[in-house]
Symmetry: C2
Subunit: 352 residues, 2 copies
DNA sequence: AACGTCTCCGTGAACGCTCACGTGAGCGGT
DNA sequence: ACCGCTCACGTGAGCGTTCACGGAGACGTT
């Protein structure tokens, strides 16, 4: 594969990797070189007692010079307290996930755990692949999974597994539930109470292919129905889960339904894109069209007008997931793990 | 430690972890239970040949039922091809890093490597701690490090180490260099050519405590000097590396120097905060004050007016780092690793 | 009947480390 | 001269796999 030199990159990179990997230096080699036993080298390396300070230094120097580094495998084999968890997210570039990741990282660090991160892009193939990988590589998994077969596979195995956003799934699978129903209800009723009747919905298109229960769209229909507000099915536009996706969907929506007065978006990313495009097309926000997001991303404060949204405590979401993983790892059975629910809070800024 | 129930979280979490960790099920136990040898179980688990399909299924079922999962340590000990790299970043919440992470993740995945992520917050103590940890836990490190003693420690050990943004350091330490000089020069000359003379700089305060060469500030002084433009030292304001930090710094700057016509910010985050605050205080952008950022974050497109910035290909940065790590891992010596430079590109949007 | 060839399965060793011991030297106290 | 103690260090075992073999049985070929 020829190296692709991206624009703005000098001295590009040709991966002509010489594969003469040097063999590992072992503790025994260090021991032999310094004329002591393995155990003494181990004492030096691990900063233990029962060793002469002078000997320690001598060993440390030799180890350094020889390029010795203890094998984490050999070490992990004998000590049982080295824990690594796998964090599976959909997209690092979606600001939702860095916040969750921050919570996971922090909670994991408090416990002295390592966190290895996987990106799926919400593709079915990747999700399945990553779940497979997880079984071999980590002690517990924390995952955001869209596709039900990936979820099934993940929870069927005997790896402690926690779902970020476990949706409406059985209580037996541990995870954090985000109360979309309460959130969507609060958000939509806010819009309705402010007089909006023609409320469109910009949905995440990823849920079209995944056979998952799409709570947000269903909730939209449900609440609108409860309030006796007729819904034109074409008010629902699928959007790619990104700012550009939101913009494109908004344009499609407007080309057919100029008369909607408010937009309820699947999330902030889509809402932001939609709002930006609406303004670019000359609409006033919120006078001509109001926008309501979901997630409470901080970038919602940057746009004009600042985005009204249903805020989710994403950091806490990550923290709780780690705590649940800890319970599982501690030997608790899956159905004993207490339920945790995160309640979206309506944050009224200025877009609605 | 009592559980803190964050607002918006029901059914909060008390970590009364029962620590009766169940002992590991080993391959031998599965072998015994199914009446075969270890090796046969191994063949079943690893999908190898030389095993009767029927036996395989029987073993697989038993393993599943017994909760068997191969130990990655034992496995890693005997196979030498399981590679894990450590990615050390300053702050997941700063959009710069998710982009780098995306590049690293993608490149690592292509190679079948695992990536474990560490967050330092650019704190000296954390940086040193993380570097220490790295030596034990991974096969190679890719790190964004601010403090020179952390860098020294990282590069002194015998762990393959690649620096993201290696700054002006010796060529012997592998890493990617971002050509801040070229970037800053292009940016500042653009401002100067458009008639600006009183150009302030909002610097990252983290560099105050770190005894690192702060190229961006020095470059600012250098270029201004070369063009014969006098600089008031108070035009340089330290800012916390965040949007709020930029806003606060801008407010301080304006309280003393209302007459600056342009702001050159350490990065986009600071620039965005500054610009937002300036507008809130009634200034017109760019008429009253122009803003120039650094990094080329996509959120710069969200603010009004969209931020003019020096764009860095962050994804490519991460990819190159992985490629360099691969070279090192392949046995290449540190000074043989070809130099890679990333050239910031001026993207003129509307803030300057 | 002897021999080769498959197919399926088992055995010993090795991976690199830590843990629980055991050991000998040195030294002060009785 | 003996005991007891501390300090510094060494020895054997074991952690859970995979790898390179070796071997028994079934079956066909000469």
């Amino acid at each position: 594969m020829a190296a692709q030199y991206a624009e703005g990159v000098r001295g590009g990179y040709s991966p002509n990797v010489p594969t003469n990997r040097k063999p590992r230096v072992t503790i025994d080699q260090v021991a032999q070189a310094t004329g002591v036993s393995r155990q003494t080298v181990s004492r030096a390396i691990n900063n233990k007692t029962e060793i002469d300070p002078e000997t320690r230094q001598r060993i440390l120097d030799a180890a350094q010079a020889m390029g010795y580094r203890p094998s984490r495998f050999a070490r992990g084999l004998v000590r049982q307290d080295l824990i690594t968890i796998g964090l599976v997210i959909a997209d690092v570039l979606n600001p939702f996930f860095p916040e969750v990741t921050a919570g996971v990282l922090e909670a994991a660090e408090r416990r002295g755990w390592q966190v290895v991160v996987y990106n799926t892009g919400s593709e079915r193939r990747k999700e399945l692949e990553v779940v497979d990988m997880l079984f071999d590589q980590v002690d517990a998994g924390i995952a955001f999974l869209l596709h039900h077969d990936a979820i099934a596979k993940a929870t069927a195995g005997n790896l402690p597994f926690v779902l970020l956003d476990k949706g409406g799934r059985a209580p037996a699978v541990p995870g954090v539930r985000i109360d979309f129903e309460g959130g969507a209800r609060r958000g939509l009723e806010y819009l309705i109470d402010r007089g909006h009747r023609r409320i469109a919905m910009l949905d995440d298109e990823a849920y079209l292919s995944a056979e998952a229960p799409n709570t947000r769209r269903e909730l939209y229909l449900k609440v609108m129905g409860e309030r006796g507000i007729p819904v034109d099915i074409n008010w629902i536009q699928p959007a790619h889960n990104s700012i550009d996706g939101g913009a494109a969907a908004m344009e499609r929506l407007l080309s057919a339904h100029k008369d909607v007065t408010a937009v309820f978006a699947y999330n902030d990313l889509i809402a932001i894109g939609a709002q930006l495009r609406a303004r670019a097309l000359g609409l006033g926000v919120p006078e001509d069209c109001a926008f309501l997001g979901f997630d409470g991303l901080s970038i919602g404060e940057l746009v004009e007008p600042p985005l009204t949204t249903l805020h989710i405590d994403k950091r806490r979401l990550g923290e709780i997931a780690v705590e649940q993983a800890a319970l599982l790892l501690g030997g608790m059975s899956e159905d004993e793990v207490p339920e945790a629910v995160i309640e979206p809070q309506l944050i009224v800024r200025a877009s609605a």
